[in-house]
């Protein structure tokens, strides 16, 4: 099981799901209509490191974070 957390303005509770890579996370989130507005503009971190490909493997206990568009300052 991995956990998927949604940062900042995404109003969604943390999920737990079975996933061997980020492809599996992407498939699960595409089923969720609420997420449609976010998938194209979120960055993704695994265990707090940003990643650039869905091929990123996942293992039990990993934390996946979705980071929507930012505006600090």
């Amino acid at each position: 099981m991995v956990t998927v957390e949604f940062l900042g303005p995404i109003q969604k509770a943390t999920l737990s799901l079975d996933a061997a890579s980020l492809h599996d996370v992407a498939e699960a989130l595409k089923e969720d209509n609420e997420m449609a507005q976010w998938l194209d503009n979120c960055a993704v971190a695994v265990n707090d490191m940003l990643v650039s490909t869905l091929d990123t493997p996942l293992k039990d206990g990993d934390k996946v974070s979705l980071l929507p568009p930012v505006c600090g300052g």
Binding site: L22, A26, N41, V51, L54, S65, L67, P69, C71, G72
Partner: protein
């Protein structure tokens, strides 16, 4: 050094303390950048969410880059509500030389705006509204939405 505060920053305390902290390290240039909430479009203020683990990593990468130039960075940011004419952000560079200081503060502040995991909300009639139109997708965003 990265400092996070609940609510508005105490700008005089922070910028004078940082000056004093580095007074003996022989830096020739100190440039703080201070960001203040503007009164516009009738907002009462702004509010911020900060995701600290990734912010720390981003800041440490920048600190290493600054150190390789003989410089040092400091930053302070607010969480939660900051009212108009209060300040929410200070970034500062110390450097032996002015050119490095001027170039570093500019690049640091611009990358901060593009990359730091901080989310901004307008405060309007007591509501907290995501400032989506002023926000920037982080470089590399969108992989989850890509077609297989």
């Amino acid at each position: 050094m990265l400092e996070l505060y609940e609510g508005a920053l105490n700008v005089p305390e922070i910028i004078t303390r940082w000056y004093a902290e580095e007074a003996e390290y022989n830096y020739g240039a100190y440039i703080p950048f201070i960001g203040t909430v503007r009164e516009e479009d009738g907002i009462e203020g702004l509010s911020f969410d900060v995701y600290e683990p990734i912010l720390n990593g981003w800041f440490e990468t920048w600190q290493a880059k600054a150190e390789s130039l003989g410089a040092k960075l400091k930053m302070a940011h607010s969480r939660g509500d900051v009212l108009v004419h209060e300040s929410s952000y200070i970034a500062a560079v110390f450097s032996p030389k002015r050119r490095v200081a001027l170039e570093t503060i500019e690049k640091f502040v611009e990358d901060f705006k593009a990359s730091a995991p901080i989310w901004k909300y307008d405060l309007r009639h007591g509501e907290r509204l995501y400032a989506r139109d002023r926000s920037t997708a982080i470089s590399g965003a969108g992989i989850l939405g890509a077609k297989r």
